[in-house]
Amino acid sequence: MGITIEKVSKAFGDFAAIKDVQLEIPSGDFIALLGPSGSGKTTLLRLIAGLESLDSGKILFNDIDYSNKTVKERKVGFVFQHYALFKHMTIFENIAFGLKVRPFKLRPSNQEIKERVYSLLKFVQLEHMADRYPSQLSGGQKQRIALARALAVEPEVLLLDEPFGALDAKVRQELRHWLREIHEKLNITTIFVTHDQEEALEMADTIVVMNQGQIEQIGSPDEVYHHPVNAFVYRFLGRVNEFIDSENEVTYIRPHEVVLRKSAQGNSVPAKVLHVHSVGSLVRIQLNRLDTNALFEAEVNTEKYQEIGPLKKGDLLYATFSNLVAFGNEQKEALTAIL
């Protein structure tokens, strides 16, 4: 199902959570709403689900105005960050809930419900859990059951609010792949909210970067990462070094784009090592520019590190910043606002 969001605004008291947002989501897309907390991404998701009411604008599902439809009528699958499994029901009853609350005429027979629940349990690979209660499951299992429950009602849109936010790093990694696979199999329009740029880059077909209730950029992971339209998007999508030159112009470079050498070359800049720490296959080096005294970070792989290292505090290196990016001065205000 395709979704059109037309000039939608929503305020909570004096706080404008969503300001005049315009967004077109094609059917079958896998889309990430990415932004810092307070950027309005969760509010936008809840507006689509009908869990919040619009102040102005329209939300269309397949070109039909759904703005005034109730949550129940929208037939969306919604997955909550903290699972929201019904604690007093078994896993089976949780998944069957959406089918059992249907009006009598539309309700499948008990046998059909049973078959459907078991096929979903099989789909999320937790068949043996049917008779357990949610409190007996791990976080990752709970989230898989929450997804099975949302899918039981055969929604045409799947909405996920920070679905992996409460899980530990390893489980999160597994579930990302798994969710991606599920989307490929079912091919329903899927929208998920996240503040983790890695998660968005890894999973989504389209990323919508949000800030202060507005959309900053819409594009594929490649587009938003390599061609950010402004400083906010650039900063939010990865680690970043920021330099201010004598004319007060701000330029940026990602740590992995900084080239370090042991000897001066071309327009390289001398820098002193402040701190070295290795993170798995990467080594991050904090340095101090000797010309402007600015601090910056460089990221090299272990091979490269062996070429220039081993390094210790106080060592002198030469850094080349060949890919400096500038967005012009008009972006600076927005930038200081988030700092």
């Binding site: 949550v71 037939k75 929201a84 019904f86 007093h88 029901m89």
Partner: protein
């Protein structure tokens, strides 16, 4: 050698705190109750049987349990409603209503009894409205139930309120995205979550009502076989210096109450165990 490190506890030593618990319970509950049974046993078995199966006594058992049960059910329903209003809505005077709920705890029960009798008597403010319809409230079992409802009100409200306060909206939202309507959300999601708390409040209100004396004696009219409650019969026996007879009636009452409360607690334990395991 590995030395075993004892896990740190907040209170010192299991032995000390358990010993204190047992002594405390003995002095306050166990010894007085034992003495009660001992006093009753000074009568011969046939005397005990005769005392406790006397028609007037049996009628009072029935009345006490029946009216206490009705009062506790009424409190379970309307106490839950009051807790709902206090948690879910914002309105002026909410703090005052919240404080009013505790009043039955603070008010001397005799005062409550006299006040209730005054307004529910056939010529009282409310009583006179029902009199033309042929409904008498004071000096009938209905009056007893009203008094017992009054004194049991805080229990259900105060047990349900915190549970309702902690109830996360996301469960209601999840149910609505799955297509449930508000009635289904209330009965399938909210009520089952509140049920253990309602049951606890019900048990407390029921237990309180079984032993209530002060407020009931004024509104009941104390007519033998009709509106006499068990505590009144016990006091009557005491006034006639029939201590053993009073103890025998009290013992039967105690056993019944204990069985009932135990059953309710067991039921409550079963429900909460189901979905609260760590």
């Amino acid at each position: 050698m590995v030395k075993k490190i004892k896990p740190q506890r907040v209170l010192p030593g299991f032995g000390l705190s358990m010993g204190y618990t047992i002594i405390y319970l003995s002095l306050i509950i166990l010894i007085p109750i034992t003495v009660l049974f001992l006093k009753a046993s000074t009568l011969s078995l046939s005397d005990i049987w005769q005392t406790v199966t006397d028609d007037r006594v049996v009628a009072s058992y029935k009345l006490t349990f029946y009216s206490s049960f009705v009062a506790a059910v009424v409190n379970a329903v309307f106490g839950t409603l009051i807790a709902w209003v206090l948690v879910k809505y914002q309105f002026p005077g909410k703090k005052i209503i919240d404080a009013l709920v505790d009043l039955p705890f603070a008010l001397p029960t005799a005062v409550a009894g006299i006040a209730l009798t005054t307004i529910y008597a056939p010529n009282g403010w409310i009583g006179q409205l029902f009199e033309p319809m042929g409904v008498r409230i004071a000096f009938t079992p209905i009056g007893i139930m009203i008094a017992l409802t009054f004194i049991g009100l805080p229990f259900v409200v105060r047990t349900v309120q915190p549970v309702l306060q902690d109830f996360d909206r996301q469960y209601e939202e999840a149910a609505s995205t799955l297509g449930a309507n508000s009635i289904q959300i209330f009965f399938k999601i909210i009520l089952p979550t509140l049920f253990p708390a309602i049951l606890t409040g019900f048990a407390l209100a029921f237990a309180r009502a079984l032993g209530e004396y002060g407020s009931v004696v004024f509104i009941s009219g104390n007519m033998p076989m009709k509106t006499e409650i068990v505590p009144l019969l016990i006091v009557t026996k005491l006034e006639q210096f029939d201590y053993a007879g009073a103890a025998a009636i009290a013992s039967v009452m105690l056993i019944f109450s204990f069985i009932l409360l135990f059953a309710i607690n067991f039921w409550q334990w079963r429900i909460s165990k189901k979905h609260q395991v760590a």
